[in-house]
């Protein structure tokens, strides 16, 4: 499985979740797989995808929020995992796309290979901690996460070194405005 498989599977079965995508290649992959107005593409602030997602989820308790995170992002700010477990928001889904490397800076190894991520999430207080390494497991895991209250966690193991499209061709201001307006409309 490659990163694009995860984005395609997620976006094509979208249930109108507000989606926060981590920076680096992940945002670029997500944008070129399927750009939805309910996607927020992080460009910088590495490590903060989960924190941003928690903020959205707190502000909009009736809307499901999905954080599409990376292994480097997660490990940069593990404290956020503690916050997510502590807050125990039923509308939060956290998906870590794990290629075991820092792809956009040249493929340097991350530490993720030795970390039992779903166990970390469960220990922090998530209600579900899943792992998927093929398409069937991914589809089943997403279906399960969408059927129950969160916070739920899924680690998806993907192959490293896949080609990526150009940078997201929208201004940061436009990304924020589109996302904000699109999730506000649906709440009203």
């Amino acid at each position: 499985m490659i990163e694009a498989d995860v984005f395609r599977t997620f976006m094509n079965t979208s249930m109108d979740e507000a989606v926060v995508v981590a920076n680096g290649y992940l945002s670029r992959q997500a944008f070129w797989c399927r750009d939805l107005s309910t996607n927020f593409y992080m460009l910088g602030s590495m490590g903060l995808a989960l924190s941003i997602g928690l903020g959205v989820a707190l502000a909009q308790p009736r809307r499901r929020v999905a954080v599409l995170d990376g292994d480097g992002n997660l490990l940069m700010s593990l404290g956020a995992l503690a916050m997510a477990g502590h807050m125990a928001l039923p509308n939060l889904m956290h998906i870590v796309i794990d290629n075991q490397q820092y792809a956009s800076t040249g493929g340097q190894a991350s530490l993720s290979g030795s970390i039992k991520m779903p166990m970390l999430a469960l220990a922090a207080g998530y209600r579900i901690g899943l792992e998927a390494s093929d398409q069937t497991q991914l589809s089943e895991a997403l279906e399960q996460m969408r059927a129950v209250d969160g916070p739920s966690f899924l680690r998806v193991l993907v192959s490293a070194g896949v080609e990526v499209g150009p940078r997201v061709p929208r201004s940061p201001e436009e990304i924020a405005r589109t996302f904000k307006e699109s999730i506000a409309e649906d709440e009203a």
Binding site: L54, L58, A59, M87, I175
Partner: protein, 162 residues
């Protein structure tokens, strides 16, 4: 200004999402935020996470405030520059200013003297109120933040909020 009055005023200025990391300089205000359910204070583990939470809350339709000690500015500089300023998010930062003079604890001296220059260097407008003009500074900061869609900061010396 008392901590309770400070919280009332931020609320009157339509701020409705409060998060941060504790600081003794802001202690009385934080005590009110934590104990009064109107504010629904969200404790964060680190200043950059607090900034991330605040930005998420803003995107979800809220008006956020982040409380922190100035030692935490270093933790969240990247979040302030490559998230808040980049995406033009109006964010109010209430920053307790330890090391504002050389009489504070040694760990606060260097960051204390550097804090105003640090905010200037990353283009964050800031106010340093005295006890009598906290309200004026807070109003001016909120107007600037909302008209320019940018982060703004109040640097709060000890005993200014009591």
């Amino acid at each position: 200004m008392t901590g309770a009055d400070f919280c009332e005023l931020t609320s009157a200025l339509e701020y409705d999402f409060f998060t941060g990391v504790p600081d003794s300089t802001l202690g009385t205000a934080l005590k009110v935020l934590e104990s009064d359910p109107r504010y629904q204070y969200v404790p964060s583990v680190r200043e950059d996470n607090a900034v991330g939470l605040a930005v998420g809350a803003y995107l979800g339709g809220r008006n956020p405030v982040v409380f922190m000690q100035n030692s935490g500015l270093g933790h969240c500089l990247n979040a302030l520059t490559s998230l808040v300023s980049l995406y033009k998010i109006p964010l109010l930062l209430i920053v307790g200013w330890r090391g504002a003079d050389e009489f504070d604890a040694p760990e606060h001296i260097l960051m204390g003297s550097a804090s105003p220059a640090l905010l200037t260097a990353v283009g964050i407008p800031f106010w340093i109120p005295g006890q009598d003009d906290v309200g004026t500074s807070l109003r001016a900061a909120s107007v600037r933040s909302r008209s320019e869609n940018c982060p703004v900061a109040l640097l709060i010396r000890e005993r200014v909020i009591y």
